[in-house]
């Protein structure tokens, strides 16, 4: 198992290099460079711009520029943001905790909701509640997250006033206090639910079907014959077997959160990496854009890798060699 995981991690390196070449080429293909966005050509000496371009190495051959960028990247030097005029790592570092909080809350809420709904529906299949949960799931799977987000803001923020509709924390709260943390959780709850909608639906569906399938197996019949209380059969015997396969979803969750974050953070104007990404496209802040695209691609690779490896852990029969 370890050997397989190790080999997969090694196999990731050429993939990452190829991805970085693609990303770099794409960034170079984008119209304009960081200078054309920042300096008004009417009142700046064109010679000065040309000199700056030369100095920043924009006139060097592309492979040379690529190697300069990638070697800096590996050493943790991501360049300077042309918009914020500070290091990219600082810009990203500022937003990263917000996105991590959003991602974690989303996974946590997904787990809790799916666990409650899935285990209940699995225990009492084909009842009214099960059908209701099934219907909710179907809507959760079909409704796009941006529509769910818009409706969530309308109902829970504007009509009911339960949750704030934007930002990540109330203004004027001292950082680090309990009040500050509560305010952050208050802000992150709604986006996290919307972000986890799709996975909640699939987790619930999977858990329900797996519990139903397991309840027909021989070991359950044996437990019943021994006189084990029905509650114990479901809570201990079946649940243990049904929950393990769920961990394989974790890898896909990471992938889903990346694209989900771009949409959800924009709707809720939540200052995270997804919002930063869209802003950097809009303002042609290439150093930030490049770093974020690399980061997202890297996380997607990791997510897919985790999914594959966990499949092997859960079911040794499908271990790939």
């Amino acid at each position: 198992m370890l050997k397989y995981a190790f080999r997969r991690i090694l196999g990731m390196i050429p993939m990452l290099l190829l991805t970085s070449i693609v990303i770099f080429t794409l960034a170079k293909l984008m119209p304009g460079d960081s200078l054309s966005g920042e300096i008004d050509p009417r009142n700046t000496n064109p010679e000065y711009i040309a000199e700056m371009r030369e100095k920043l190495g924009y006139n060097d051959p592309l492979p040379q520029q690529y190697f300069r960028w990638i070697s800096g990247f590996v050493e943790g030097d991501f360049g300077k943001s042309t918009r914020f005029k500070i290091d990219v790592s600082e810009v990203i570092g500022e937003r990263l905790p917000n996105t991590i909080l959003l991602g974690f809350s989303s996974i946590l809420i997904t787990y809790i909701l799916a666990f409650i709904m899935g285990s209940y529906a699995g225990r009492k299949p084909y009842t009214l509640t099960d059908n209701l949960i099934g219907g909710l799931n179907y809507i959760g799977l079909a409704i796009p997250s941006f529509i769910a987000g818009v409706f969530a803001i309308f109902f829970f923020s504007f009509t009911l006033g339960w949750f704030p509709s934007n930002g990540s924390v109330d203004i004027g709260v001292t950082e680090g206090t309990l009040e500050w943390w509560l305010s952050r959780f208050h802000h992150v709850f709604l986006p996290a639910v919307v972000l986890g909608l799709l996975s909640t639906a699939s987790y619930t569906q999977f858990l329900r079907n797996d519990i139903i399938e397991n309840s027909r197996k021989d070991y359950v019949r044996t437990a019943r014959a021994k006189g084990t209380p029905e509650r114990k059969i479901y809570n201990v015997h079946i649940l243990r077997n049904s929950i393990i396969p769920l961990i394989t979803f974790l890898g896909f969750d990471i992938v889903a959160i990346i694209s989900g974050a771009i949409i959800t953070e924009t709707i809720f104007t939540y200052p995270g990496l997804g919002q930063l990404f869209l802003q950097s496209v809009g303002t042609r802040d290439y150093p930030v854009l490049l770093t974020l695209t690399m980061l997202f691609s890297f996380l997607t690779l990791i997510g897919n890798l985790i999914a594959d490896v966990l499949y092997g852990v859960v079911d040794p029969r499908i271990r790939l060699d």
Binding site: Y138, F146, I147, F154, S259, T266, V281, S297
Partner: protein, 303 residues
């Protein structure tokens, strides 16, 4: 010998009852699925109304009319007007044209690319297979939304906006279909009729098109339905973010874009609720059709 002739006689006496083809069975099952049929009817009606939009309404969708900004629904404007004074109902019809056009074109491209690469990879195997599948993995490992946005930003203004979007979405989404088609082809090509077809000298192209693809067509059709729904979500989502269809072209996503303004979201429901609802219902109905088709093509399901 005797038995054989007797059998022959029996066959002659009772004319063989022609059993239904797999597609006829599927059709029968599908027709019985009420939810799927209702969804299909809904989708057809939406499509027809959208196509006939220029004949149904005469209002100009592009003209900005400052005198009629943000009017509430009334007899004259069934669903009111948006912030630029354009009739929401008319825009909904024209938006349907664009959203469905993008959805269908993307689906066709994705299915074409996915089937092409999947079937070549599955049929030839060996080095071709590993090369193509590594490439597919490579594409699948791109975060979809991120790359569509970046590609759109590059190509924007160079080619007609709509086709940029269709091209970029399609180029990044065929991976899943290719994998599914490949695995189906791998299983199907082990059959003896394929060996027979090869032994009588059929070219690979003929074997794939004439013999293999018809046998995995049901899978491709089901995948196409699911892809169609995904593509509509992709278009509307990107337009909602402002990176999809160019702003001046009405599409369902572009109409929903105005919900980004708190004022519209809170007080001008008629501007954003209709596109939101129609997107949701369309996607739901496509999903129901997909489920119905999956069920109909599944020989194990009894209905």
């Amino acid at each position: 010998m005797e038995i054989a002739t007797q059998n022959e006689k029996n066959v002659l006496v009772t004319p063989p009852k022609k059993s239904l083809s797999p597609f006829a069975i599927a059709r029968k099952k599908f027709v019985k699925n009420k939810l799927a049929i209702i969804s299909l009817l809904f989708l057809l009606i939406v499509t027809i109304i959208s196509i006939l939009a220029p004949y149904i309404t005469t209002a100009d969708i592009t003209r900005i009319n400052i005198g009629q900004m943000s009017l509430e629904p009334s007899g004259k404007h069934w669903l009111g007007t948006d912030k630029s004074g354009r009739d929401v109902f008319t825009r909904l019809l024209y938006g349907g044209r664009i959203s469905l056009l993008v959805g269908i074109s993307c689906t066709l491209f994705v299915i074409f690319l996915g089937t092409l690469i999947g079937s070549i990879s599955g049929y030839f195997g060996g080095a071709v297979d590993s090369l193509l599948m590594r490439f597919t993995d490579f594409i699948l490992n791109f975060p979809f939304l991120v790359f569509v946005i970046v590609l759109n930003a590059i190509l924007f203004g160079k080619v007609n906006g709509l086709w940029v979007l269709i091209g970029t979405i399609s180029l990044l989404s065929w991976g899943g279909i290719a994998r599914i088609v490949r695995s189906k082809i791998l299983a199907e090509k082990e059959n003896e009729y394929i060996t027979a077809a090869i032994s009588i000298g059929c070219s690979p192209a003929k074997v794939i098109i004439k013999h293999l693809l018809p046998n995995i067509l049901s899978t491709i059709i089901v995948q196409a339905t699911i892809t169609f729904a995904t593509m509509i979500v992709a278009e509307t989502g990107l337009s909602f973010l402002g990176f999809g269809v160019p702003q001046e072209i009405p599409s369902w996503g572009n109409m929903l874009n105005s919900a980004n303004e708190p004022d519209v979201l809170q007080f001008k429901l008629w501007i954003w609720v209709p596109p939101a609802l129609i997107i949701t219902i369309t996607i739901l109905s496509i999903n129901f059709i997909g489920e119905g088709l999956k069920d109909a093509f599944n020989p194990k399901s009894k209905r």
